[in-house]
């Protein structure tokens, strides 16, 4: 089946995966503007690989992950000065700014790889095995990162 024109194709792909990929990037980078740049870079780079039959969620997530960590390496640090919100209340009206800001501060204190594991485990409900597959790390490493992250967050918040 012929592929639809580029704009339509990229638009559909973004509608299907864009928000989830952005949320993933915003947690890894702890920087909304950086996350937007990463997602934009990944989607535009897909145009150069039009010969591929399809881009599944796994491929896109890996592409975003690679781009996020490349961006962090370029910045030489993973705790950014960005003060823009990286969390939002699931239900409108549930947002308590003090609580949210404290959570965001605590998350920003974590290294990017620990934030990533927290995101995948807590917000996306992935198992340690699935996270290990995605990150090419051992399941023990992933579980340790999660444990360290939770301990740090708990210490920070108490």
């Amino acid at each position: 089946m012929p592929r639809p024109p580029d704009d339509e194709w990229i638009g559909r792909l973004y509608d299907r995966h864009g928000a989830a990929l952005y949320r993933y990037a915003v947690m890894v980078l702890a920087d909304p503007a950086g996350a937007a740049d990463v997602v934009q870079t990944v989607f535009v780079s897909l145009l150069r690989q039009r010969a591929r039959p399809d881009f599944d969620e796994r491929y896109l997530r890996r592409a975003v992950r690679n781009e996020c960590f490349s961006a962090l390496r370029r910045r030489q640090r993973d705790v950014l000065a960005s003060a823009s919100p990286i969390l939002e209340a699931v239900e409108a009206g549930r947002d308590r700014p003090d609580e949210r800001i404290a959570l965001e501060r605590a998350l920003r204190e974590l290294p990017a790889d620990q934030r990533e594991v927290v995101h995948l485990k807590v917000f996306e409900g992935m198992t340690f095995q699935e996270i290990a597959d995605l990150t090419n790390e051992s399941i023990n490493t992933v579980a340790s990162r999660y444990r360290y992250a939770i301990e740090k967050l708990r210490a920070y918040l108490t």
Partner: protein
Amino acid sequence: MNDFDDPLRGYRPAGPPSDLRARIMREAEHATSSSLRDWLPAIAAAGLIALFSALGHEIHVDIDARLSAPDDVRLVEQWLPDDVGGLR
């Protein structure tokens, strides 16, 4: 669930800015037109090469035609020796 999960449960990572889709579409359009624009000099160069090659060929054929006028040459070969004193 552990102690930290509980407060996090009410939150999720912030969603994308409303203009991100439009930004991507604009950038995609730009990237597509850029790639065409990137090829334009190469296409123009190829066209010039083809043009000069055709012109060169035409000139070559013309020169060949002038230089290899066999009848004239044969005529000269016939009268020149006699004309210069009968070298033959």
